[in-house]
């Protein structure tokens, strides 16, 4: 018995045999966990008696790396936080720095950002909802919506050249305006998506099997959700209409007319439906933004942060200096301490930034919504069946990159 396990002694093994509860190790690489999470479940037959989550399996030290990087080079890191909707993180970071340096952003940039962020939100919610369906055994919806995600990827690709980790935008705006193809693809998407989304909805929303599987599964009430620091769709499913877009509007969200869907019981079904409805609201916002897109420059006048045009770099001394300083990351940022948050796809994504006036942040802390609300998971699945726990987890949309930073 000596070498079997370094964690438990022989006596404990015998104790465990007598015990009615069995221990089940779910993860870190388990097909049903969609990412690297480990749950140690104490099971009474099929029922979960207690659960303990461990995380940190892809901890990459974002905060430490950020302390060594110039502001422009932190954006690629934010890509990899919630990689299902990278543009929201990118733009959130840009806006944090803009707020710190007190930049004034043209209206067109705000609208373009809104379009991109809402596209990203759609992409994120699509993945989450289709994965809920996969976990209940319905793979069809997944293949349907991935076609649509490809359309969104194509739009991103047209704007910034990348599909998933977009690194979209710059401090002050965008590196280039939307081109003709991007506008066309966006238009096609807005035209085609509602119909195909309807297909997905008809497949699942009133599907008796699906409803039976997710109604009353993993519920959490509003009080507990608040206490656990829930934000985003998960909090709204519990019945609290907190949305950063509406409460502290950024990037001209106050110009748009949209509803904040809320649920009642905070169960998996509500989370699913809130996301479904948010996709429609996002579409609505994009339509408004596209129709009212103001003319104007696509970036702010921030010579210290925004790269000058290449022709100027070759011909003008000043432009060359700025170019060099930005590329080498030698731009000093004013001293200050700031907290800025955006409504990420999973909730309030906050950036707490302390600048000591140097080229890199003195301290940067990410408020990652996943990390904060995932701790409620064990409470939510207590007494549930194992298969319900899986569905609950996918409906919380825990993204490993954001969880572990």
């Amino acid at each position: 018995m000596d070498n079997i396990s370094k964690h438990i002694t022989e006596n404990e093994v015998i104790d465990n045999f007598d015990n009615k509860l069995s221990t089940l190790n779910l993860g870190p690489t388990h097909p049903a966990t969609h990412g690297i999470f480990q749950n140690i479940l104490k099971m009474d037959g099929e029922r979960i008696y207690s659960a303990e989550q461990t995380c940190g399996y892809i901890h990459r030290a974002f905060e430490k790396i950020s302390e060594r990087r110039p502001y422009n080079q932190i954006r690629p890191l934010t890509d990899r936080l919630n990689y299902c909707s990278s543009p929201i993180n990118n733009i959130g970071w840009d806006m944090t720095v803009e707020k710190l340096i007190g930049a004034e952003i043209p209206k067109r940039v705000d609208y373009l950002r809104v379009i991109i962020m809402e596209l990203a939100r759609i992409a994120d919610h699509l993945i989450c909802n289709s994965v809920i369906a996969v976990d209940t055994g319905a793979l069809t919806g997944f293949t349907y919506v991935f076609q649509e995600r490809e359309r969104i990827y194509e739009i991103f690709e047209e704007i910034c050249g990348a599909r998933l980790t977009t690194n979209i935008g710059r401090i002050g705006g965008f590196e280039r305006d939307f081109n003709e193809t991007a506008h066309k693809k966006l238009k096609d998407f807005l035209k085609g998506f509602p119909k195909r989304f309807k297909d997905f909805e008809t497949l699942l929303c009133r599907n008796r099997i699906f409803m039976d599987r997710i109604i009353n599964v993993g519920p959490i009430n509003a009080d507990r959700a608040l206490n656990y620091g829930f934000t985003g769709p998960n909090l709204r499913a519990a019945g609290i209409d907190y949305d950063v877009r509406a409460m502290n509007p950024y990037s001209s969200y106050q110009d748009f007319d949209f509803k904040i869907p809320i649920g009642k019981s905070g169960d998996t079904f509500d989370r699913f439906m809130v996301r479904q409805e948010e996709i429609k609201q996002s579409l609505n916002i994009i339509n408004q933004a596209v129709n009212n897109l103001p003319e104007g420059p696509y970036h702010a006048d921030l010579p210290e942060f925004y790269l000058p045009p290449k022709e100027d770099v070759y011909t003008k001394m000043e432009a060359l200096i700025y170019h060099f300083k930005i590329i080498m990351g030698e731009t000093n940022v004013p001293k200050g301490e700031i907290y800025f948050s955006v409504e990420g796809a999973n909730g309030e994504l906050g950036f707490y930034l302390i600048s000591d006036g140097g080229r890199t942040p003195f301290r940067l802390h990410f408020r990652r919504p996943c990390f904060i609300y995932y701790q409620a998971f064990s409470e939510m699945i207590k007494g549930a069946l194992l298969s319900d726990a899986i569905v609950t987890m996918s409906s919380m949309n825990v993204i490993a990159g954001e969880l572990d930073a």
Partner: protein
């Protein structure tokens, strides 16, 4: 009434090199086995982060990895042939990765997808393993952060090429044993 045109029979997989005559076809056993193996590689997706999402896109309808005989994802290491490591492997993850690799039955191949799995990528930090080839042997590296689905498919094609041409005796050779020993895998 128009007659339906008889289509030429589709040859999805080309036959290996060999001699063809009336009613017979002669080739090496290893080529036949290689061909069979290459067209039914069962991948074990070890998806940890961003690359995993791109892998999902590759598996899904648009790129459809199932075209290459990889429809069946084998989540059990015991029944899989190809370990696809996608995403950052942190130091906390090393024992898990090694255990998964050790559980796989021979012959097995490893594909490292993305910069993180190949070299640590942009995360040169205290918590990230600087390339999975520090703990397990890797056959194919796919560059990119994350790679596009086309790139991943290209990587898979290279795995297929390796599988097709690998000698049946390779896994018993001294060199291979030495390689495993250098990783402390027995």
């Amino acid at each position: 009434m128009g007659q339906i045109e008889k289509k030429e029979k589709l040859n999805i997989v080309a036959p290996p090199e060999g001699y063809k005559g009336d009613g017979f076809f002669a080739t090496k056993l290893s080529s036949v086995i290689g061909l069979a193996r290459a067209n039914s590689v069962w991948p074990l997706p070890f998806a940890t982060s961003c690359c995993g999402i791109e892998f999902m896109a590759t598996m899904a309808s648009n790129y459809d990895l199932a075209r290459f005989g990889m429809e069946r994802l084998s989540f059990s290491p015991r029944q899989s042939d190809l370990l696809m490591v996608m995403g950052t492997i942190s130091k906390k993850m090393i024992p898990v990765l090694r255990q998964v690799y050790e559980q796989m039955a021979e012959p097995k191949w490893v594909l490292a997808m993305g910069a993180c799995a190949s070299s640590g990528g942009i995360f040169d930090s205290y918590s990230v393993l600087q390339g999975i080839d520090k703990v397990i042997p890797v056959d194919v590296y796919v560059p990119g952060c994350p790679p596009r689905p086309e790139q991943l498919i290209e990587g898979v094609m290279q795995i297929h090429e390796l599988v097709k041409t690998e000698s049946l005796r390779r896994r018993y050779t001294k060199e291979y044993q030495k390689l495993l020993e250098s990783y402390n895998i027995s």
